[in-house]
């Protein structure tokens, strides 16, 4: 039990360290936030007058969230490699605790992004949410899977030379099932749908998140080596 407690404390320390460093430098937050706001503004001006259908808006929301995530979530491991701190972290912390800590950090970043961008999207694009609770649940489950996949991919690409392109290229096929379910789930929470047929989407999103985090925890010690 004390082993587990020490492991969880190590994961918490990794997450707290990254949050502290992020609030002092704001690298990832700035990248994600600015990308999301710029994209949203462009979409709003370009497509706003056409009054897109609600179904399309649900897909557009996840496209914005996906590409905003691509803009900043890889930093979590890239920063360690670029700053030369990765070897010290490899020696000091249990590998699984590093993954969990980084996962929690990316999850926190995504939640901060959504607190900023989703209300703006709703207002600017005229998204009509029916069930706010289910809408938030779909976003939360989507975040759990999105953070799980992007964290392990970030670890994989952090030592490659073309990290940025590789991160997006590897992430897209892995995240495709999640994005499809998240878009379906979001559609079901809109006013016109009245939550009909949402449960399969929630089940897929939940299962995806659990499977992704579990597999990542198992694979991470193999990935987290030079």
């Amino acid at each position: 039990m004390s082993e587990l407690r020490a492991w969880l404390a190590a994961a918490g320390a990794v997450c707290a360290k990254d949050l502290r460093a992020e609030f002092r430098t704001r690298y990832a937050l700035s990248a994600i936030g600015l990308f999301a706001i710029t994209t949203l503004t462009v979409i709003s001006f370009a497509l706003g007058p056409f009054g897109l259908e609600q179904d399309l808006l649900a897909a557009l929301l996840w496209v914005v969230l996906f590409f905003a995530a691509m803009a900043g979530l890889a930093r979590v491991f890239v920063r360690e490699e670029e700053a030369g701190t990765a070897p010290a972290l490899r020696l000091a912390a249990p590998p699984g605790a590093v993954y969990l800590g980084k996962y929690l950090f990316n999850l926190a970043l995504l939640l901060m992004l959504e607190v900023l961008i989703v209300p703006l999207f709703v207002v600017m694009m005229g998204l009509q949410v029916g069930s706010l609770g289910l809408f938030a649940l779909v976003l939360l489950l989507g975040n759990l899977g999105l953070a799980g996949a992007t964290t392990i991919i970030a670890a994989m690409v952090s030592q490659a030379s073309a990290r940025g392109a590789l991160f997006t290229v590897l992430s897209f096929p892995l995240l495709l099932p999640l994005l499809i379910s998240a878009i379906e789930g979001t559609r079901s929470t809109l006013a016109q749908s009245a939550a009909a047929g949402i449960w399969p989407s929630l089940q897929v999103l939940g299962a995806y998140a659990v499977a992704m985090v579990t597999v990542s925890l198992m694979l991470f010690p193999l990935v987290w080596t030079e």
Partner: protein, 207 residues
Amino acid sequence: MVRLQVQKVLKRYGRLRVFRDLEAEVRSGQVLVLAGRNGSGKSTLLRIIAGLARPTRGRVVFYQDDRALGNEERRRLIGLVALDVAIYGELTAWENLSFFARVRGLRLAPEEGARLLSDVGLGGRGDDLAQTYSSGMRQRLKYACGLLHRPPFLLLDEPGAGLDEAGRTMVERLIAQQRERGLVVLATNEPREVAYGDIVLHLEERP
């Protein structure tokens, strides 16, 4: 009682052979020096010993009371200080120490942290961001972080690099203290540091 064996270690990068069939053994109270010219593979061998790089062939075995240690046990018992292994510039010295203690499952009391910083000549600077430190001060902070868990296996890469005379004296003192606690492996081509060694492994130039 700890012991470390380097067993017929070979390292290649593609077709480039860095070294081959290296063998050495070092025990508690001893210092193993990896010496050789630039590019001879000293740092590479030290990273292999630390478990940060894989040998192409051969292996490094760590023993505690004649029991071979697994990778996870080994990780917990190693302290590494190297020029290319950085500390977190966005954190203060105290936050760095506290972070490395927590991920190692230790609780670092403030007075213990203050003592560690004082031991490496950073007393009173614990609340400054590490990125505001000079290279020598960062090197001193690395010693504090690398030694906070009292590792029986201490690995040092160019231990005096970036340090002034007082810093080099500090390194001498830390190596002497480490002899009481375990063993030291250091990679260097400084004659003064080679002289610390009980065993010197000369890495030759590639043919």
